[in-house]
């Protein structure tokens, strides 16, 4: 009896402590993903604006509805903007992590999110450095000159409206092709780049 009381006491304490943490900004992902398929990036300096809450492209770049904006020059020069700082009026931000998307259950402290500035983007365009989500294979790795998402990686996003989302880019190429085939390795038969397929979950 005494023992059970003690257990109850400990449980309550733990729950209370956990709840008090939840009171700040610790919320929990459930692992139910949505998928966006072949979202074509804008080119020639144009952007494709995307709203994760509705899982659709939007046109108004001046609003806080959009969360991500994609552009691509077709030569490996890609950019993904978040709605904040120099990029938009929103409350956005991002963190790129080298961990599996399923291992992320909680959102980190708000001050840990990066924002877009004139000098750098929250989601960096530089491949294969700390804090980038992709690798550019160049000429030394096969398939050559390909943009491949790092495995694992997770992009934590604060949306334009200030919600949180976690996102994993599955493919940069049209039709989410198998990148291990000779067809992909051959530059003549490789599908076009600048088409994003990604899984994500938004916490409302």
């Amino acid at each position: 009896m005494r023992r059970q009381l003690l257990t109850l006491f400990i449980l309550t304490t733990v729950l209370l402590t956990a709840c008090s943490e939840n009171d700040s900004d610790v919320v929990t992902f459930t692992g139910e993903f949505q998928t966006a398929t072949d979202i074509q990036a804008g080119n020639n300096g144009n952007y494709t604006f995307y709203d994760l809450n509705t899982n659709s492209a939007v046109t108004d770049s001046t609003s806080i509805t959009w969360d991500l904006a994609f552009t691509d020059d077709g030569r490996g020069g890609l950019e993904i903007l978040t709605n904040n700082g120099t990029s938009g009026p929103g409350n956005g931000g991002a963190i790129v992590l080298d961990v599996d998307i399923n291992s992320i259950t909680e959102v980190p402290n708000d001050d840990q999110f990066s924002v877009d500035t004139g000098a750098s983007l929250a989601i960096t365009s530089v491949p294969d450095v700390a804090g980038s989500w992709f690798i550019y294979t160049s000429q030394s790795i096969e398939p050559n000159f390909a943009i491949l998402p790092k495995e694992p990686h997770t992009i934590l996003i604060r949306t334009g409206e200030g919600d949180y989302a976690k996102l994993e880019i599955i493919s940069y190429y049209e039709g989410n092709p198998d990148t291990s085939t000779p067809e992909f390795a051959n530059m003549m038969t490789r599908p076009a780049g600048g088409y994003y397929t990604f899984n994500f979950e938004v916490l409302d």
Partner: protein, 760 residues
């Protein structure tokens, strides 16, 4: 001088001891073959404490021996050692007549690659694999490529044409020598071993593990030394012709003479095929049609027993033609691509022995290599694309050997090299100069223990100087069992690409510069305010260190049942550092990347090699080879993770398996001399386990869908030796027609051939 002093002292002591005390005995003897040919330079040991060497008449003498029972051991390269228990009476001279018998199965295998002087393969402290002339003859291989592939520890790099791997390292890290001199003309670091026709090969010596202490740059994973045939008979000649499917041909002829102090040889060979194409869907051939042409000549003159001079020349030409895709105005158009490669070399060598136990060798070596390819746009208003690359190496070296009275051998040498390369992609002509000095001492403790130490210092104009040491030892545990161990360092100088490359293609989104160019290029971009971001400090990009490795090899070799079972096992571990890789060092405002070369990577390979041959009876012999290999690249990564709600970056060192290296490789060779028709059947197999092919998703792991299948290739042939030196061979290479367009692009399907050889 020292020798004379020793001799005098010895004589005086001998005289004193025999006359004054008269309590010692002596032995006197002659060493000869069963045909009564005298054997000089045989080592005679008495209980491992007293020794002598037989002179040109085969005779030897040992004096001042206290009365007692002794074991006398007599050894000589190529002969079975002789051992006998004798009793020596005081004041008596025991006279002996000793007959040495040739070693039957390992007969006369002297190797030079292990120690830089010709020594019995069983006595050197480093394990040497020898591919004999007989093995080449049995396999009917046309090119060095085919014969190397039948060795268990050597793999064809699956992604490259005719490049080989040793102990898990790419072709870039293996030095290829012909009669001890380096062959030049590598393509993207890889040496094309199909450039060497087998017709002039006496034997191929393969030393695995770092060997830079004797051979300098590139001997990081090992050395392949091709020993050419030397004229030995008064007059001899050979002619052969071979034809096969896929329009394969191989023919040649050579003559040689050795008479009255003058010797010489001349020969040529031609080979080629119409190539092959495994897939109609993919554009282009797997191998284009090609023709090879080789000429070998040599002339030598012996002034005396002690002094000789020789001049060797070699010329090789390969020409090929094929098609490639060119992108013109957004359309892919098939265009012709033709080309050739050529190499030429001369080696002038003077050998002399100015005084007893000392010999010296002076070598002048000069070689040139050129390749050329042309993409031809017929009927199109486009300029043909021409690629031309011309390289040369001139080298002078002197090597001295001194055999001490106690049979220790000292080797000392030095030399200088001049190299140049002339190619558009290296912006014209570039010159380099180098010099080197090396020394080695072989200690012999009794006749069971051999300890060899050596080192070499290379100075070079294009990279920082490098010292490579090596120490190796051999101990005979018993007559049948020897233990070998070695530790050594190897290095590879930065190659032409990493020094001089200037890849600045307007159409592509990246540029690559060698270390000699990158500083000025970055300055120019900087002055135009074109650089958006540096990923590396630009001041660190102007020089490279040699890539280097250190390795341990430990092994046992054994022979039982009168040499009917012979084998060896070797374990190795090789740590490579400073490996050079192209990385993105800066990014321009237009988002294009600038790549430079840095010493960044580390790798580790380790494994076990084993070889075993059985002679079941006089007519069947079986050899089995096996290699277990682990090859890992060590990379340092920064991982961004969340800890306690904060983003943190952790430095982690990760081990990435190196791709395209089977864990298990094997080779099988069976030779059966059947008695009924007098034919010889030869079956050879190459077996590879499934292997990690490529990290397609670049997650630095070998995922289960990134493996290529296990495979085996079997070659078979039947030979019959007729009278008058005529030999006929018929066979099939790749008997079971195993091909794989995706993972084994350079393996052709089944190829039939028939070959006739005539020796006179």
């Amino acid at each position: 001088m020292n020798y004379i002093k020793h001799f005098l002292l010895g004589s005086i002591f001998f005289a004193l001891s025999t006359t004054l005390f008269a309590q010692t005995g002596a032995i006197k003897g002659i060493v000869q073959t069963e045909d009564s040919e005298k054997i000089s330079d045989a080592n005679i040991y008495l209980n491992e404490s007293k020794w002598a060497i037989s002179d040109v008449n085969g005779s030897f003498e040992i004096g001042a021996i206290p009365e007692g029972t002794y074991t006398i051991t007599i050894g000589k390269i190529g002969y079975r050692s002789f051992e006998k228990t004798i009793f020596i009476d005081s004041s008596e001279v025991l006279e002996l007549e000793i007959t040495l018998f040739p070693q039957i199965y390992q007969g006369n295998t002297a190797v030079v690659t292990a120690t830089r002087s010709s020594q019995d393969i069983e006595s050197v402290p480093i394990s040497v694999d020898v591919i004999s002339e007989e093995e080449i003859l049995n396999s009917a291989s046309n090119s060095l490529r085919d014969i190397l592939l039948e060795q268990a520890g050597i793999s064809l790099s699956p992604g490259e044409d005719n490049a080989i791997q040793i102990q898990g390292f790419e072709s870039d890290y293996t030095l290829v020598l012909i009669d001890g001199q380096p062959l030049i003309g590598r393509i993207r670091g890889a040496f094309d071993v199909s450039r060497i026709n087998t017709s002039n090969i006496q034997q191929v010596e393969v030393v695995k593990g770092p060997s830079s202490a004797l051979w300098g740059s590139d001997a990081l994973a090992g050395v392949i030394n091709i020993i050419t045939k030397k004229p030995t008979q008064d007059f001899s000649g050979t002619a052969f012709t071979e034809i096969g499917s896929r329009a394969t041909y191989n023919a040649g002829s050579s003559i040689s003479f050795n008479k009255n102090k003058l010797n010489g040889s001349a020969g040529f060979s031609v080979d080629g095929s119409e190539g092959f194409d495994l897939s109609d869907e993919e554009f282009g051939n797997n191998q284009n049609p090609y023709d090879n042409f080789t000429i070998n000549t040599s002339i030598g003159y012996s002034f005396s027993e002690l002094t000789s001079v020789s001049l060797n020349g070699r010329y090789f030409k390969n020409s090929f033609s094929g098609q490639t895709l060119a992108s013109i105005l957004g359309q892919n158009i098939a265009v012709d691509e033709d080309g050739w490669q050529e190499d030429l070399s001369f080696q002038l060598q003077l050998n002399t022995s100015p005084f007893s136990r000392f010999d010296t060798k002076a070598i002048l070596y000069s070689t040139r290599y050129e390749d050329f390819s042309e993409t031809i746009f017929t009927d199109l208003n486009e300029d043909d694309i021409i690629n031309n690359n011309f390289q040369g190496l001139d080298k002078a070296e002197i090597q001295n050997n001194y055999i001490w009275l106690n049979n220790h051998i000292s080797t000392f040498g030095f030399g200088a090299t001049k190299e140049f390369v002339n190619a558009e992609r290296y912006q014209g002509k570039r010159n380099q100069e180098g010099s080197f000095i090396f020394g080695q001492h072989q200690f012999l403790f009794g006749n069971k223990f051999n300890l060899t130490t050596g080192a070499r210092l290379d100075n070079h104009s294009a990279y920082n100087s490098y010292l490579s040491p090596k120490i190796s030892a051999k101990y005979d545990l018993s007559e049948n069992l020897s233990f070998r161990a070695s530790w050594g360092k190897g290095f590879k100088a930065p190659d032409l690409r990493t020094l001089y490359l200037n890849f600045d293609n307007a159409g592509s989104s990246y540029r690559v510069f060698g270390v000699e160019n990158i500083g000025s290029e970055l300055e120019e971009f900087e002055s135009n305010n074109a650089i958006a971001q540096y990923f590396r400090n630009p001041s660190t990009l102007n020089s490279l260190d040699p890539e280097y490795s250190s390795a341990i090899n430990v092994g046992l070799s054994y022979k039982f049942y009168s040499d009917q079972i012979i084998g060896k096992v070797n374990a190795f571990r090789n740590n490579a550092r400073n490996l050079i890789e192209a990385i993105e060092v800066a990014r321009l405002n237009d988002n294009s990347g600038i790549y430079g070369y840095v010493n960044i990577n580390k790798a580790r390979t380790q494994g076990i090699e084993a070889e075993q041959s059985f002679l079941l009876d006089e007519s069947i012999s079986i050899s089995i080879g096996y290699q277990y290999l682990e090859a890992i690249e060590l990379t340092s990564d920064t991982l961004t993770v969340i800890e306690n709600g904060n983003v943190v970056r952790n430095e982690v060192e990760s081990e990435v398996p190196l791709a395209k290296r089977p864990k298990h490789s094997g080779s099988v060779r069976l030779i059966y001399e059947e008695p009924f028709f007098g034919t010889e059947l030869s079956i050879r197999g190459i077996l590879k386990s499934k292997y990690f092919y490529n990290d397609d998703n670049v997650n630095k792991k070998a995922d289960s869908d990134e493996y290529a299948n296990a495979y085996s290739i079997w070659n078979i042939n039947i030979a019959k030796q007729f009278d008058r030196g005529i030999r006929a061979q018929f066979g099939v290479n790749n008997l079971f027609n195993h091909t794989d367009q995706e993972f084994l692009r350079y393996q052709s399907g089944a190829t039939f051939f028939t070959k006739i050889t005539f020796e006179f």
